[in-house]
C-alpha cells in the first residue's frame, strides 16, 4: 500500500509538470482559438536560450530577463508575421501554421545554440526530502514540490487575470469570435501579442523545470505531445482543467506502467494517456471542464 501511494504521489507530481506545458496551450487556445502546436518548440527554445546565455557567462539573474525578452520578441514577431495575415482563417489553417512554426523554431534554436545536450542547474536538489521519508517512508522529491508550487501560483495568477481584468475579458471575447471582437473595438493585434508573450513566459518556466529535470535537449519538444492528452482530458478552454487533467494523466500513467505494464511487456506510458483520454471523451466529449458545445443549424 505504501508503494502504491509512493507511485501515486510521484505520478501526481510529474503530472504537474505536464500541466505546466498544457497551460501554455490552454492560454493561447482560450484567447485566440488557435491550437498552438509550437508550444513544445517554445519550451525548447526558452530552455536552450537560458542555458546558452548562462554559457556565455551571463549571471542567472540577468539571463532570466534576457530569455524572457527573447520570448516576448518572438511572440511579437509571430503575431506580426504569422497570425495577422491569417485572421479569420479556419482553425485548421492556423493549426497547420503553428506546425510550420514548430519546424522553424526548432531549427532556429539549434542553429543558434547548437544541438548538444546540456545540463541545467536551478539549485534545487532532485532528491527525497529527508523528514518526509522518515515520517511516512515515502520518497518525495523537493524538486517536484517546488514545481507543484510554481504551477499553483501560475494557475492562480492566470485565473485572476482571465476573470478579473479588462484584458482577460477581451481575450475571451477574441476566442469566441475574431470578427465580432474586432467589431466591438477590441485591439486584436495587441491582445494576440500579449497572450503569446504570456505563453512564452509560461514556456520559459516549463522549459527551466523540464530542462533541470531531463537536461536541455531536443527531446524537450516531445514534452508537448504529453501535454495533449492532458488538454483533451481537462478541456481545451479550461485552466483548472489543465491542472486536474495533468494530475489524472500523471498519476494514471505511472500506476498503469507499474501495475499493468508487466502484463503486456512494458512501455505503455507512451500511449496509455491517449487511450485513457480517448475513453474519457466517449463519456464527456468536451473534456472535464471544457465549454459545452451547443450546435444549431
Amino acid at each position: 500500500m505504501q508503494f502504491f501511494f509512493e507511485v501515486l504521489i510521484g505520478g501526481l507530481l510529474s503530472g504537474v509538470m505536464y500541466s505546466l506545458v498544457a497551460l501554455g496551450f490552454v492560454l493561447i487556445y482560450k484567447a485566440s482559438g488557435v491550437f498552438n502546436f509550437a508550444q513544445g518548440a517554445m519550451v525548447f527554445l526558452a530552455a536552450l536560450t537560458y542555458v546558452g546565455l548562462l554559457e556565455q557567462g551571463l549571471p542567472a539573474l540577468a539571463a532570466l530577463p534576457a530569455t524572457l525578452a527573447v520570448m516576448v520578441v518572438l511572440a511579437l514577431v509571430i503575431e506580426r508575421v504569422v497570425l495577422r495575415p491569417l485572421v479569420n482563417q479556419p482553425q485548421i489553417t492556423l493549426f497547420m501554421a503553428t506546425i510550420g512554426l514548430t519546424f522553424f523554431i526548432e531549427g532556429l534554436a539549434q542553429i543558434t545554440w547548437g544541438a548538444n545536450v546540456r545540463g541545467l542547474d536551478l539549485g534545487l536538489q532532485d532528491e527525497p526530502i529527508q523528514w518526509v521519508t522518515d515520517a511516512t517512508g515515502m520518497a518525495i522529491s523537493k524538486f517536484d514540490l517546488v514545481a507543484a508550487g510554481v504551477a499553483a501560483i501560475l494557475v492562480t495568477l492566470l485565473a485572476l487575470f482571465f476573470n478579473r481584468t479588462r484584458i482577460g475579458r477581451a481575450l475571451r471575447a477574441v476566442a469566441d469570435d475574431h470578427q465580432a471582437a474586432l467589431a466591438v473595438g477590441i485591439p486584436l493585434q495587441q491582445i494576440w501579442a500579449i497572450v503569446w508573450g504570456v505563453a512564452g513566459a509560461i514556456a520559459l518556466v516549463a522549459g527551466l523545470l523540464w530542462g533541470a529535470r531531463n537536461g536541455v535537449q531536443y527531446a524537450l519538444t516531445f514534452v508537448a505531445l504529453k501535454a495533449l492528452p492532458v488538454l483533451i482530458l481537462g478541456g481545451f478552454e479550461s485552466i483548472p482543467g489543465a491542472i486536474v487533467g495533468g494530475l489524472i494523466i500523471g498519476a494514471s500513467e505511472k500506476l498503469a506502467e507499474v501495475y499493468l505494464g508487466p502484463f503486456v511487456g512494458g512501455g505503455i506510458e507512451g500511449w496509455f494517456p491517449y487511450v485513457l483520454a480517448l475513453l474519457f471523451l466517449l463519456i464527456r466529449p468536451e473534456g472535464l471542464f471544457g465549454e459545452k458545445i451547443i450546435r444549431r443549424i
Binding site: 512554426l101 526548432e106 531549427g107 542553429i111 547548437g114 495533449l228
Partner: protein, 358 residues
C-alpha cells in the same frame, strides 16, 4: 483562349457524367499518363526512381487517403502513418502465413486490415470532433506502433523488430528493378486515384461533404452520420494501408515500425493542407511539394556552400532545411490557404479569358 469549353456540347448522359468533362483536361491527362508510363521509364535514372518518384507516388496515395478523411469528410486525423504501418505489416503477414497468396491480394488484404483498424479508431468520431478528435487519433498513432514493436508475432519474432519485405512477384514476373517497381506503384496509384475521384463526386462523396460542412444539418436531411463517418475512416485507412504496403515493398524493402512515426503522419497532413483539402489533384501537388522541397533545399544549400565557401556545418544545413521548410509552410498558408489546387483553379480561370483581362 486555350482552355475554353465553348462548343463542347454534352449530348448524352454518359458525356454528362464523364470524370473529365472538358476536352482539354482529357488531352492533358492522356499526355501526363503517356509521359508517366512510357517516357519516364526510358529516361529516368535509378536514383530518380528510388529517391524521388516512388516515394512521391506512394505518399500521394497516402495523402489521397487522408484527404478523403480530412478534406472530404472533415475528420481531422494525425494517425495516418500508423494506418500505413498496419497495411505494411498485415501484407507482410499475409505473404508469410498464407502459402502461395498473390502479392496483390496480400496488398488488398493489408488495406482491408487497415480499414478495420481505421473503423475501430474512427468510432470516437461519432462523439467527438475537431481538435479533440485529432488528439484522439494520436492514440492510434502511439498505440499501433507500440503494438507492432511489442508483439513479436507481427514481425515473425525478428529480434530487431525489423521485417524484410518479400520480393514482388506477379504472374511469374519479379519486380526487382527500380523502373519495374515504379510502374507497379504508378499503376496502383492511378487506379486508386481514379476510384477516389469517382467516389468523391458520387453519392458517398457528397454525403461526406455534407457531414464535413455541418453534421447536424446532414443528419437532418437524412444522411446516416455513423455510416458516412465510419465509411470515411474505412476507405481512408484502406488507401493508407495500401500505401503503407507499397512503402514497405516497393520503397524501403526492410521496415521497422519506427519508419511510420508521427513525423510521417505530419508530413502527409502537410501534403493535404498545402495541396488543397478536398481535391484529389491537391494530394499529388502537395506530395510533390513536400517530397521535392527537402531535395531541392539540400541541393541548393550544398551548391551555395561549395561555391561561396561558406563551410556550413552538416548539422546546420539540416537545421536550415527545417527553418526553410517551416517558413515555406507558413508562407503558403498565408498566400493561399486553400492550397496549390486552388492556384490551378485560378490559373484555369485566367487561361479561359486569355489574352483578354476579363
Amino acid at each position: 483562349m486555350f482552355y475554353r469549353e465553348a462548343g463542347q456540347f454534352k449530348t448524352s448522359y454518359q458525356a454528362d457524367v464523364a470524370i473529365f468533362p472538358i476536352r482539354q483536361d482529357r488531352i492533358a491527362i492522356a499526355l501526363i499518363a503517356l509521359t508517366a508510363f512510357l517516357v519516364i521509364p526510358l529516361l529516368a535514372t535509378s536514383y530518380v526512381f528510388t529517391g524521388i518518384l516512388i516515394p512521391f507516388l506512394i505518399l500521394s496515395l497516402a495523402a489521397i487517403g487522408l484527404n478523403i478523411l480530412t478534406g472530404y469528410a472533415g475528420q481531422l486525423s494525425l494517425g495516418t502513418a500508423a494506418f500505413m504501418a498496419v497495411g505494411a505489416f498485415a501484407s507482410y503477414n499475409f505473404m508469410l502465413r498464407v502459402p502461395g497468396i498473390p502479392i496483390l491480394l496480400a496488398f488488398i488484404g493489408g488495406g482491408t486490415i487497415a480499414a478495420l483498424v481505421g473503423i475501430l479508431f474512427g468510432l470516437p468520431s461519432l462523439r467527438i470532433r475537431g481538435f479533440y478528435l485529432a488528439v484522439a487519433t494520436l492514440a492510434a498513432q502511439f498505440f499501433i506502433l507500440w503494438f507492432l514493436t511489442k508483439v513479436g508475432w507481427v514481425t515473425n519474432y525478428s529480434s530487431s523488430g525489423v521485417i524484410t519485405a518479400q520480393p514482388i512477384v506477379i504472374l511469374g514476373y519479379t519486380f526487382a528493378t527500380p523502373a519495374a517497381k515504379y510502374l507497379l506503384v504508378l499503376s496502383t496509384v492511378t487506379l486508386m486515384a481514379l476510384a477516389a475521384k469517382n467516389m468523391a463526386r458520387g453519392n458517398v462523396g457528397r454525403s461526406w461533404m455534407a457531414v464535413r460542412d455541418m453534421d447536424v444539418a446532414a443528419e437532418v436531411i437524412g444522411i446516416r452520420l455513423m455510416h458516412a463517418k465510419l465509411l470515411a475512416f474505412a476507405v481512408s485507412s484502406f488507401y493508407c494501408g495500401v500505401a503503407g504496403a507499397l512503402f514497405a515493398y516497393a520503397y524501403l524493402g526492410t521496415v521497422e515500425p519506427e519508419a511510420f512515426n508521427l513525423d510521417l503522419s505530419f508530413r502527409i497532413l502537410f501534403m493535404v493542407i498545402i495541396g488543397g483539402m478536398g481535391t484529389i489533384l491537391g494530394s499529388f501537388l502537395g506530395s510533390a511539394f513536400v517530397t521535392l522541397l527537402p531535395v531541392l533545399l539540400s541541393v541548393t544549400v550544398r551548391y551555395l556552400d561549395s561555391n561561396l565557401n561558406l563551410h556550413i556545418a552538416e548539422s546546420a544545413i539540416s537545421n536550415l532545411e527545417f527553418m526553410v521548410f517551416g517558413g515555406l509552410i507558413i508562407f503558403f498558408l498565408i498566400v493561399e490557404p486553400h492550397g496549390l489546387a486552388r492556384l490551378w483553379q485560378i490559373a484555369k480561370e485566367k487561361l479561359r479569358l486569355w489574352p483578354f483581362p476579363h
